[in-house]
Amino acid sequence: MKKISLVLTTLLMAFSLFAQNITVRGTVTDATTGEPVAFASIAVKGTTTGTASGLDGTYTLSAPANASLLFSFIGYKTQEIVVNGRTVVDCALAPDAEYLEDVIVIGYGTTRREAKTGAVSTVKADEIAVVPASSVDKMLAGKMAGVSISSETGQPGSNSQIRIRGTSSINAGNEPLWVVDGIPVMSGDQSYFTNTNNAIAAINPNDIESLTVLKDAAAASIYGSRAANGVILVTTKSGKAGRASFSARAKYGISKLSNDNHFRMMTGPELYDFYKVAYANAGRNIDNYYDPSTPNKPMTNWIEEVTRIGKLQEYEVNAQAGTERGRFYSSLSYQDNQGVSYATSYKRLTGRVNSDYKLTNSLEVGTRVNLAYTENHDTEMQSLYYSNPFFGGLIIRPWTPLFDENGEYNQNIPENSNTNPLWNALCHGEDQWEKQFRTQAGMYLQWTPIEGLVFKTNNMFEGTFGEGIRYWGPDPGDTEGTLQGSRSQYVRLTTSNTATYSKMFGDHSLRVMLGQEAMRQTYASMYGYAPGVDANIPYFSTSVASSSQIDESRNARTLLSFFGNVDYNYANRYFFAASIREDGSSLFGSQNKWGTFWSASASWNVSSEEFMQGASDWLSLLKIRASYGVNGNNNISPYRAYGVYASSAYNGGNGMLPSSPANDLLSWELNKTWNVGIDFAFFNNRLSGQIDAYTRNTSDMLLNKQVPQTSGFGSNFMNIGSMNNKGIEFQLEGDIIRTNDFVWTAGFNFAYNKSTVLDLGDDEWMASSYDSRLRHVVGKQFYNFYLKEYHGVDPTNGDALFRATDPEHPDDESYYILTNDYNKARYIYAGSPEPRFTGGFNTSISWKGLELSVFTEFKTHNLVYIYEWRYLNADGNQMSMNQIATALNYWKQPGDTACNPKPVAGNATNSYANSTRWLQRGDYLRIKDVTLAYNLPQNLMKKINMKGAKIYVSALNPYTFHDVNWWDPERGMEGMGWGIYPHTKTFAGGIELTF
């Protein structure tokens, strides 16, 4: 009734008070949350009259009764409402979904997506926040075309290997540059003892607003001598004006070993039968070695015993608020990740404060402060140690009991050097750790003296302070242990200062940026070693052993840079950009301290052309881009350019000897990249994507070049090699269904990359420093397996057959002769661990408050080398180790093929030695993460005074399709890692409450 009378009144007034100003009141709210929006702008269309909403979202305004009001606020779609004589006009602003997408962070600034000229990929926070992974780098796998994320190990807190458009360097690094809130930061493994401790893991993934990957030279060259491997820009969250909220999150999950191919070792009876055949084939009788009751003994599944269900828990609170003047975001988080192997764990505490405040209309300051504490525990892994549960746990025979007759951990395990890996992990695992404090503390000051001109100074202190211990307690019966300890500290200071001027005149838009940056980083560490410490007081002070030692290491590096760029566009149709950077580095030779890096790029927004307007109902965007640029890789250790003397002991004293030659010409590796691309969007942006093609030439690669020994040195570190990476990237995203209640989106990305080594200086090939079975070869890919060629089983007698060079066609690899003599087998280049295609699919379906999203990731054409099989599939050579179950498929009678050679106890034919026999195709399709979330309805929330509640369940690596006869196909970029902690699957559930 009330409503009707109101309408009537309004109608009457509309007629009677035509063209007269009336007072309009109302409230501006957020359409999704119903919260009031403060500081929203309300303007009378076509006039300069306007006002802003108050903190409670209300406003009052005098306007003609027939006026149109424009409601606008940052992050919301502008809404136009006709007053129509009403005195109360409420407005529910809809958040502008495209607002965030449209602005992307690039080097030293932001750009609109449609204005970008380089190859850039972005990921937004909400795509990664709920995945139960320990660090942000882990969450990126498969999400962006051309960004390949891999890790050797599934251990909590471990480092990732990130390759953006392939591998380009042998002796300088291949990892991208990480830039957090505008400052290039330290990354990589900074631990001393534990297998791994990832610097980027110190950032709470939930604190990240967006992440941009700069892939080509046009985008990355502004970072000069550090840009060759691409740049990852991380922007952390800041408060938003008009929104205040407090959130609490909790997440709990479990993890277990991935094993989607049912990989397993033999059971006791299987192993006994295998041994029996092996002995028989050697003309021996198993009864002389094993009691016939052996297969009936109680059996132990060692892998089950040495692993457990891992646990993940994570808790976080964060708060944010903002007005037009000041904003803040802060969070506190705790994560505890207990690995599937006993004694492995990763704990992290982070605290962040981000604040921004407008001091005056032209002056703004802000801080970005992150503090983190991480604690890593592990045991001896990453190699075939007997104490490694992922080696010892495999080789111990099932009838060897876990406990001895006294109920103590069995130490009588001759097949594993009397090491009980579980006892070892439980007893020693707590004593191998790394604890680190990490700080990133930055402050900026921004001055806008006149419109369009911005001066900004951004300064950051970064520090990592670590302490590590590796303590080996006494073996049973002893009283003394061995202690190793470390203290390390990394400190980096960076100042980054820019002046930016942007101006629009007519159809011309121009932005000019000039900047300067300086960085100094120091490193210091102490390492101590003391055997013979008292087991009851296991510290250095109780050791009296003369072989105790202490070592110290220190270094420093500096970088000074000047840079600038220019962006210009005409009528949003033609875009040009150019950048230049001068980097001076302490790392390089005195004659090459300074280098110039630059890029130029252009794009043409075809869809904005007049002649395309007819297509605008189906074509939303069509843009063609091209770029070329030169950037560098300075990722080498300090002082390589210096001629250095080091001390050399002789005759009771310490003399000095030249230890490395001077290289005044030492310089960065140079990358020159061409990129062409197309951005497109159809049907009102329902379907969008991009295609990029690139070729990247790396020259001046740093290699050790042989020099005449008459100079005093055999080799010198010089810029001599070259190689190329070329590839194509494709990314497609689409809204398949979009209604108010139901949204279904899907995306797909894939990338092709091929590396070619062009020049290695003196050499046609070089053994990889990772493992000599991998070689860099001129004319071939970056990594190539170099192995003896295995042919298969001899169907007549069950021997292993190898291929040897055919003496009649020694130069033609397609000819070969067969031999059962491993020593005569020929070496071949057997393929590469580098994938040819990488990518991922993702899809997400939401219906009302319910949302399901699935990400997958794939790699193809990569080979992996299962070195462990040398022991675990040894054809009878290892008669005291358990063997993999598939070793049961061996030659039994003449005519058998496609099986293992027949087992012979004491086999010394080398059939199991390194050869192509252990290579497998490493292709996989991994369901990377699946998340089902439910947002409780708004009206329900309002009743209990909450803004939102979200519950979700999520799975990381729930299933992987692959053909590798192992737990998991991933073995790192080099495809070789052995004795590694396998990848795990994690299932987690969580809740997120917002007040």
């Binding site: 300086a518 301290k593 003397y645 002991a649 009771g652 042989q706 008459t710 005093g712």
Partner: protein, 490 residues
């Protein structure tokens, strides 16, 4: 806009003042420049330059033992299962450019270390002298550097070049200045090589004070003194067939009063000492110790010649059968029982059926044959060689002391005295006295000798024209340096 320009200027000024900002000197090591800028650094640079001498390719083992193997004094024992598989190349004479001695690199490394010091002293002498550093100090240092450089060039010359006068154009690369990695030196002639060695040694002799002795060392005789330089000069003149000068310098050393011949009674017990001490025969030696930066460890001579160690380097019957009864140099016994009493031993358990090993590298007792190898010093120059040099000079027409010199040694070894002394007597005496000290091969080389014998495993016929007298220069060096020529025959 004005402010903008001011800001730009500020930035540029900052840049100008920041050149030092980009200079970060090494913290944990010392730059070459700094090391060579003061006396203390130069002194340490010479102390360090000695240390590669004890590396396994040089006096640390194989320069000496390989030449014994080639010359027929040593063999890989075939009747034991002790060997490690080392020393196959010298034993079977399978030298090739890709399988040859690595002395080339090590010796030129020492030469470069010496050149750095010599160059720094020559170019900066006035600034190096201070209230505590005299010109004499610098001269002594430079003399040591010159002597080490001469020894390095000379050892290269002996190993990679013909010493009998044939193939005279294939000498060593004479390097007397610091080199750039781009320098591609060619080989000097053998004559030019000798000239440089002699020039360095005579200059060093002139510069070094008579009583100069490097301080802060365990073994004083492991450093160059003036008499050590003179002793080396005596040997170089002998190799160069300047017999009068050779005799002259040998006499200087014999008469200097610092050394005396070991007696027959003490001869078997002088090996394996930690330091040579005053008196005795040792003039210059290389000091063995595991703490040395260049310790050869398992490949050190004491482990290679220990029948319970790697045992690759045993004595041949041709050598052990040369000694007459009563000559202390040929005494034989059992390792573990007769230690310090005899010069050749079989293994303790007689497992190798009487195979003998030299006791000259008996070891200092700082290890054993199983968990840690023992170490020993390697004698480079000793007094009896001076007598032998003078005797050889004499039989070649310089003086008439040959018989007296040989008998002086024989008397001190319990051997019968000779009644006449010819070239063959001198050569034989050298083999008896200096076996396993790395002389025989080079003696045969410089005198145009040959080798012909058979044992259980090999038949060796190396005549005077064999290519093997000059070992091949490593292939990698020929490949890199287009000006470097390989020896004929490889």
């Amino acid at each position: 806009m004005k402010k903008y320009i001011i800001a730009l200027f500020a930035v540029l000024t900052l840049a100008a003042s920041c050149q030092n900002f980009l200079t970060e000197d090494p913290i944990m090591s010392q730059s070459t420049e700094l090391t060579l800028s003061d006396y203390n650094g130069l002194n340490k640079a010479i102390a360090g330059a000695y240390s590669p001498l004890v590396g396994s390719v040089w006096y640390g083992a194989f320069y000496v033992l390989d030449s014994e193997m080639r010359a027929g004094n040593a063999m890989i024992p075939s009747n034991t299962n002790f060997q490690s598989g080392r020393m196959m190349t010298p034993y079977y004479m399978t030298y090739e450019p890709s399988s040859t001695s690595g002395l080339w690199g090590t010796a030129y490394f020492v030469i470069s270390a010496c050149n750095n010091v010599i160059n720094a002293i020559d170019n900066n002498a006035e600034n190096l002298v201070s209230s505590s550093v005299t010109t004499a100090d610098l001269n002594n240092l430079k003399a040591e550097a010159l002597a080490l450089r001469a020894l390095s060039h000379f050892d290269l010359l002996r190993l990679y070049c013909r010493l009998d006068g044939s193939n005279g154009e294939y000498g060593v690369c004479v390097i007397t200045e610091p080199q750039l990695p781009t320098d591609m030196p060619a080989r000097a002639s053998v004559e030019e090589s000798f000239a440089q060695v002699i020039s360095d040694l005579t200059t060093a002799e002139g510069l070094m004070a008579d009583n100069y002795q490097r301080g802060n060392v365990n073994d004083k005789k492991a450093t160059f003194t003036k008499t050590a330089i003179q002793a080396l000069l005596a040997r170089v003149y002998l190799y160069h067939k300047e017999y009068a000068k050779a005799a002259d310098y040998a006499t200087k050393v014999i008469n200097c009063g610092k050394y005396n011949l070991w007696t027959a009674d003490e001869y078997t017990s002088v090996w394996g000492k930690d330091v040579a001490g005053d008196g005795g025969e040792v003039i210059f030696e290389v000091y063995g110790k595991q703490a040395n930066g260049y310790d050869a460890y398992w490949e050190g001579p004491s482990h290679m010649t220990n029948p319970l160690g790697y045992a690759d380097c045993a004595a041949t019957a041709q050598l052990t059968g040369l000694f007459e009864e009563g000559d202390v140099r040929g005494t034989k016994g059992v390792r573990g029982t007769d230690d310090g009493k005899v010069m050749f031993c079989t293994d303790k358990d007689q497992a190798s059926g009487g195979q003998l090993w030299t006791m000259k590298y008996y070891g200092k007792g700082e290890g054993n044959a199983t968990s840690t190898p023992d170490v020993s010093n390697t004698i480079v120059l000793r007094l009896s060689e001076m007598y032998l040099i003078r005797a050889e000079a004499s039989v070649n027409g310089a003086g008439s002391t040959a018989l007296a010199d040989l008998n002086a040694i024989r008397a001190a070894r319990g051997a019968s005295l000779l009644t006449s002394a010819g070239k063959a007597d001198v050569a034989l005496e050298r083999r008896l006295e200096l076996n396993f000290e790395g002389h025989l091969w080079f003696d045969l080389d410089r005198t145009g000798g040959s080798i012909s014998y058979s044992d259980a495993d090999i038949t060796r016929n190396i005549d005077a024209s064999s290519k093997f007298w000059a070992l091949p220069i490593p292939k990698s060096q020929i490949d890199i340096n287009e000006n470097l020529k390989q020896n004929p025959g490889y």
